[in-house]
Symmetry: C2
Subunit: 155 residues, 2 copies
């Protein structure tokens, strides 16, 4: 659908969109909140999700757990309005800047999926690295919002 990848100079220095999808047909996506500049989530798109995101200006991903196109916010109401879509040097990852208003992005209930930080420095016991919660409170109740939906997290 998009321009065929033919040579490295075109891919890196050219202006035509020519994304690379991996062996599963996916490209990774970093989603940043325009207001806080936090990383809200890390997801994946297939060709169709990328096309729909560009055309509708609302973030669409490929749900690896449900194996279907995922219009983010369709169930929760937390739609992501896309303000900017960038692609990297070798065109194999995407950076979305989105507006979620006062909404959230994380199915656990936090605003960002990245609500825990890892302490830096010498590791004494790697099986017991205690993280810090950077978001103190959940911003919505996932049990209510996602009633009846399976949890996407897999062991």
């Amino acid at each position: 659908m998009f321009k065929k990848r033919e040579n490295i100079t075109e891919i890196e220095e050219g202006s035509l969109l020519s994304p690379k999808f991996d062996n599963d047909g996916l490209i990774p996506v970093v989603t940043i909140c325009t207001k806080t500049k936090d990383v809200l989530m890390h997801g994946y798109m297939n060709v169709e999700a990328l096309k729909r995101t560009i055309e509708t200006k609302e973030a669409h991903y490929w749900s690896r757990s449900r194996k279907q196109i995922w219009h983010k916010g369709k169930i929760s109401g937390f739609v992501q309005k896309v303000l900017e879509l960038r692609i990297d040097d070798d065109q194999d990852s995407i950076w979305l800047t989105v507006d979620i208003g006062n909404g959230s992005s994380c199915h656990v209930g936090y605003r960002s999926c990245f609500y825990r930080s890892v302490p830096l420095g010498k590791i004494d016991n790697a099986r017991k690295i205690e993280m810090k919660f950077e978001e103190k409170e959940k911003s919505f109740d996932p049990k209510k919002t996602y009633k009846g939906q399976p949890n996407p997290t897999k062991i």
Copy 2:
């Protein structure tokens, strides 16, 4: 090496680091500039790269093109000092906040790997989507900096 992933509540709500590596033994990493809040790059770590990053407070990745641990900046001098390392809800992606001073991150010569944006709206011809260069000038000369190194970009 890290805590074994045993149940979903622990993974999502617990405080012990228990990262998930994919079938290739990798976890995706989003690297943000502490100064500009731009996404500098999207990379991958294996267990050893994650351990070294935590312990040395300098970003280490797994180079998929060179198939080896990649201490970012070892060749170019553009070391990334890690200020914060976060992990997401299901612990399968990492957000690094780094200080690169006045350095760069992109092997093409730009500060961020994400130097091009994709226009949003109806797609007339997907093979001809013209992107915009958001960084006007390269911040270093990759031919000099990476003299003799192979280009990591693959078609």
